[in-house]
């Protein structure tokens, strides 16, 4: 049962793992009486009491009810969160959003850009439990140091393609190029589902690629560049033009065919005052 905690569930930080570059993973154990089974792609509102509360994807969840969030220091709140000590109480409100639609196809191609690896990491573990799905991860970052979970991923028996803008490791270039190449060569398109997460501009580029192969309906994009307030789709802070769908509730995962009609996809975000900003 995917129970939602509507009020912040305040739990002590059980484990803090440094991922490098101002990025940490916080783990908590959800009391087993409060059974929940969140999906990859769903997120929680993470409350740092006395400070602020921000949306963070689930970067792992295991059968022991241990839940992890990987937070990158982007601004004040995320930065404060990366500096919390063990045992401090953090409020978890969620899970929110639709999560990825887990499709039983032969191949799952996961495309991550930067922090976009967080929800895809949980997706990998989730898919690994289904033995019959082949997983291909394409993961890019600016530099090697920003390739979080590199060692952990190296230990997994999945197909991996790393890339960096500067070529410090892996392919020199963008994940889109690798994806394009795979689609052009080895990938059996009919049996492939694509899952992408990263900056909206990268997602926009991916949409361009998959469209060329008419795969937009089979590509799921997880968006993150809108201000989230309520998380359950009522305040309207995070709507996409023109359809008025909310990222927090109707998303954050959308299929490419829908995004083709989203006027501001890859162009504008919305700030907390509701005004638009250029992405």
């Amino acid at each position: 049962m995917n129970k939602r905690f509507n009020l912040p569930l305040c739990l002590p930080i059980e484990k803090i793992t440094s991922e490098g570059l101002g990025t940490i993973t916080l783990s908590f154990t959800i009391p087993s009486v409060l059974q929940t089974q969140p999906l990859p792609g769903q997120y929680f509102m993470i409350w740092n009491p006395g400070d602020d509360e921000i949306p963070i994807s689930i970067s792992n969840f295991d059968s022991n009810n241990s839940i992890s969030f990987t937070i990158c220091s982007e601004g004040e709140t995320s930065n404060n969160l990366t500096k919390k000590n063990k045992s401090k109480l953090i409020g978890l409100r969620g899970p929110f959003g639709n999560g990825f639609d887990i499709v039983e196809k032969e191949t799952a191609v996961l495309v991550a850009g930067g922090m976009g690896i967080a929800p895809l990491r949980y997706l990998i573990y989730y898919l690994l439990r289904r033995k019959n799905i082949k997983i291909i991860l394409i993961y890019g970052a600016k530099v090697e140091k920003e390739l979080f979970f590199k060692t952990e991923l190296d230990n997994l028996s999945i197909e991996k393609h790393f890339c960096t803008d500067d070529g410090s490791i892996g392919y020199k270039g963008f994940p889109t190029e690798i994806l394009d190449n795979l689609l052009k060569t080895t990938l059996e398109k009919k049996s492939t589902e694509i899952y992408a997460c990263g900056p909206e501009l990268m997602l926009k580029a991916i949409l361009g690629v998959v469209k060329r192969y008419s795969l937009e309906r089979f590509t799921q994009f997880s968006l993150a560049d809108r201000y989230i307030r309520c998380g359950f789709g009522i305040c309207g802070s995070c709507t996409l033009d023109d359809q008025g769908l909310t990222i927090c509730h109707d998303g954050p995962v959308f299929r490419g065919d829908l995004l083709l009609n989203v006027k501001d996809f890859g162009l504008f975000g919305r700030k907390s005052d509701g005004s638009k900003f250029k992405l």
Binding site: N6, R229, F232
Partner: protein
Amino acid sequence: MIDLQIKVGDVKLRNPLILASGLLGSSYSSLNRAYENGFGAVTTKSIGVESRDGYPNPSIIYLEEIKSILNAVGVANPGYKVFTQELKEMNKDVQYVVSLFGSNPDEFVQMIEHIDEHIIVHSPSAYELNLSCPHAKKVGMAVGTDPEIINSIISCVKKSTRIPIWVKLTPNITNIISVAEAAISAGADALVAINTLKALMIDIYVKKPILSNIRGGLSGRSIKPIGIRTIFDLFEKYGLEIPLIGVGGVSKWQDVIEYFLAGANAVQIGSALNDYSSPKELTSKIIFVLENYLSDENVKIGELRGIAHE
């Protein structure tokens, strides 16, 4: 098919369900969608003179146990000038109400004149003056409990526009008639009641208030009996003299009827969005059974107004 058309003063709506201010009301897209999804009219988020980021999160919390919401968004908005751009994008068939907040008559007049000037073809159906937000400083309730300020705001605003002025009242008051009286005598075209009730919630492990703003406003089903009582009070006093829009805890078709029987001409719906998977599901479920009830009872919806007073 049953006719659900109603009138709020001179404003004709295809059905009595209006999207309440502050819910899905910060962009033209969500307002258009809500209208397409079946609302009779949609209200924008309250807009002010300057842009406001609103309060940090948590700012909106769902209280499952009492099917209610506690919020202190802090009237986040981009300011009236920027928001006028959103209004320009409204679909032409959409009936919308622009909600405004301010701290004095000048601010309201300034905003209304600007919008009237820039939105000529497809004007708002009404302006709703939010004199009732419980958690913003110097605006909302801060002005909405003082009959004199209310009177001067509405008098000034009425002189500056021909668009109907709806006035949204606060329930956080000893006697709502005092402010209703001020609004009516200054020329308000309809009263909207109620806004949220001042409330607060504390986490017992963190031992702090959950909302970043500490206090917030309570909405949703728990406040319905208070909203109904308020509309009843107003209708008892004013009868057909002024249109009344009932807000607070409407989530089912029965609630719509109840507000009408108490004296409302229409209702607004906010928190109940969370009870349904989409605005469409909300409006269609409510309207479907509403129609059955009206045909069983063999009345038009408007005829139910104030019947509980007989």
